[in-house]
């Protein structure tokens, strides 16, 4: 616990303030965890009795199981496609100048500020105009568009940190551009690629609004199934599922932090 200065009253007040704010950030997760173990179907704080039964129901509920598998399919395709598209474009952005470069970059980064419901609605209308159904390809396309900016950013940052002299050395020793790309550039980029993929996968698995527009009963992902559940039932099943979600996500992030340094990925480390 050390703020830059000695522990002046100001620094203590700062620590307290940050603690209170982090409390606000973590409050919903704590409350949802208590709720998940509440034995009764009706909310009560503190719960009268505890049980695991809502976890059992969450794991056996059909829509959740199906949504989970749908989500995995969509996420696997979308994050992998986004990784290929994003790393290719990041390489081009980093190395070359070409016509419409900045237009293309702005266009691909625009989903950061375009509302998700707008993208969902646009793709829904587009699929109606082209008379293609609301199948998996449409959902995957929506997710690729939405997660691409994050992959692009992650790979681009690793490219900036890559020592270009290694590539120069390889090509001066007679390696073809293809050989340089596959034996020097890409292996050096692996941490950036993995973290970009992971980032994309987590975001895609959790995407809700656009998916609500472009999915149907057979392609709905887990967040859409959860949304439909909360509109119909008020029991703690969803709380149990949320706890599983929170635990898995926190674990993944902690692992990412251990292996890649989350601060570096998010570009928040002090220089």
């Amino acid at each position: 616990m050390s703020f830059p200065m000695r522990k002046s009253p100001l620094a203590l007040a700062g620590i307290l303030l940050v603690a209170v704010i982090l409390g606000f950030v973590m409050l919903p997760a704590i409350v949802v965890t208590i709720t998940a173990f509440n034995d009764k179907a009706i909310l009560a704080f503190p719960p009268q009795s505890y049980s695991w039964r809502w976890f059992a129901r969450a794991l056996s509920y059909d829509d959740f199981r199906k949504g989970f598998w749908n989500g995995l399919i969509v996420t696997a395709w979308a994050s992998t496609i986004a990784l290929i598209v994003g790393s290719g474009f990041a390489l081009a952005l980093h190395r070359y100048t070409f016509s419409l470069k900045s237009t293309l970059e702005a266009l691909l980064l625009s989903p950061l500020v375009i509302p998700h419901f707008t993208i969902g609605l646009g793709l829904l209308i587009l699929s109606a105009q082209l008379t293609v159904g609301r199948g998996f390809p449409l959902v995957v396309l929506a997710h690729v568009i939405l997660v691409l900016p994050f992959v692009l950013r992650s790979v681009f940052i690793s490219l900036q940190n890559l020592d270009g002299r290694l590539e120069l050395a390889a090509s001066s020793l007679g390696a073809t551009p293809r050989r340089v790309l596959f034996t020097v550039t890409l292996p050096l980029l692996v941490p950036g690629l993995v973290s970009g993929w992971l980032f994309a996968a987590i975001l895609s698995f959790n995407e809700f609004t656009a998916t609500l527009f472009v999915s149907n009963q057979t392609t709905q992902t887990l967040p859409v199934a959860m949304y439909n559940y909360v509109r119909e039932y008020a029991d703690p099943t969803l709380a149990a599922l949320s706890v599983i979600y929170i635990v898995v996500t926190a674990l993944l992030l902690t692992l990412a932090n251990l292996f890649f340094g989350l601060g570096k990925i998010l570009n928040v480390d002090a220089h």
Binding site: V18, L22, I42, G88, A92, F98, V113, F117, I202, F208
Partner: protein, 283 residues
């Protein structure tokens, strides 16, 4: 001539995705000027009616309400996120830094539905806050927080906190500490140092964070839909209702389009208003 190996391989997949996005936006543009045929998914001829309908009180108010909601959310998020970002960048202990980072960033990856549901349990009439206040004897009837604007804002602030923390921290981490040391050696106290050196230098992060929080709030759907419960109308909830309850896709398209134009306008305006301050930060 400069060689650009693999340029086509690198760029063409990105061009395909960009085309998909452009086609989707073009579809919205096209539907927004078409007539609504009740009871049918097909659309009629060209019309500007969808845009004049935007001026009807319900929609005009919803628009205005959404803007206010976004501004309120972005402001509160900024106020709460700044100390966290500051601590994240300046704290020396590695373990504490990791803890702050994980605690403040995890919600980003939980998705809107999980977070909104959690807030429903916190804010509900039998929820956490009301139960605690009741058992402490502070209230005897539950406080109505669900289906109110403050309730929606509280949940939205929570939704936009992580991205704001990330953007502010990115800005703060790029500040050269020597400026602060110089101010200190010239006799400025901690508060003065913060107000005249650190805060102005972190302006680029503040502008980026504020505009992103604004855009994200505008984009939020599950939170206003579930916590607002129809009492708090936003552009996103109206677009969904128009599309999936009345199948009026042309009007939904024009409403989305107006929202998009407005988002871009507000972000451009904010950037412009902040330009003098930002220039200060660049020095």
């Amino acid at each position: 001539m400069k060689q650009r190996p693999f340029l086509g391989w690198f760029v063409s997949p990105a061009v395909l995705v960009a085309l998909g996005l452009t086609a989707a936006m073009a579809a919205i543009l096209q539907y927004s000027v078409r007539a609504y045929v009740p009871g049918s998914l097909d659309v009629g001829g060209l019309t500007l009616e969808n845009f004049t309908a935007l001026l009807r009180p319900l929609y005009a108010w919803a628009f205005w309400g959404t803007i206010l909601l976004c501004l309120l959310t972005a402001t509160f998020t900024l106020i709460l996120a700044y100390p966290v970002a500051y601590a994240l960048v300046r704290v020396r202990s590695k373990a504490l830094k990791s803890f702050i980072l994980i605690a403040s960033v995890t919600p980003l990856f939980l998705g809107e539905v999980v977070r909104t549901y959690s807030w429903m349990i916190v804010l509900g009439n039998n929820g956490f806050i009301n139960s605690v206040l009741k058992s402490l004897g502070i209230i005897d009837r539950p406080l109505q927080m669900m289906f109110t604007t403050p309730g929606v804002v509280a949940a939205l602030v929570h939704v936009t906190m992580p991205i704001m923390v990330i953007m502010l921290a990115a800005g703060l981490s790029h500040i050269d500490r020597n400026y602060e040391k110089a101010a200190e050696s010239l006799g400025a106290g901690p508060i003065r140092r913060f107000m005249t050196v650190t805060l102005p230098l972190s302006m680029p992060g503040i502008v980026a964070g504020f505009s992103t929080a604004f855009a994200w709030t505008f984009s939020a759907f599950a939170t206003p839909q579930l916590i607002g419960g129809g009492k708090v109308n936003t552009v996103s909830t109206l677009v969904y209702q128009l599309g999936f309850a009345s199948f009026n896709f042309p009007f939904a398209a024009s409403l989305s389009l107006a929202g998009l134009v407005m988002t871009f306008a507000v972000i451009a305006l904010m950037k412009r208003a902040m330009r003098p301050v930002e220039r200060l930060g660049e020095q």
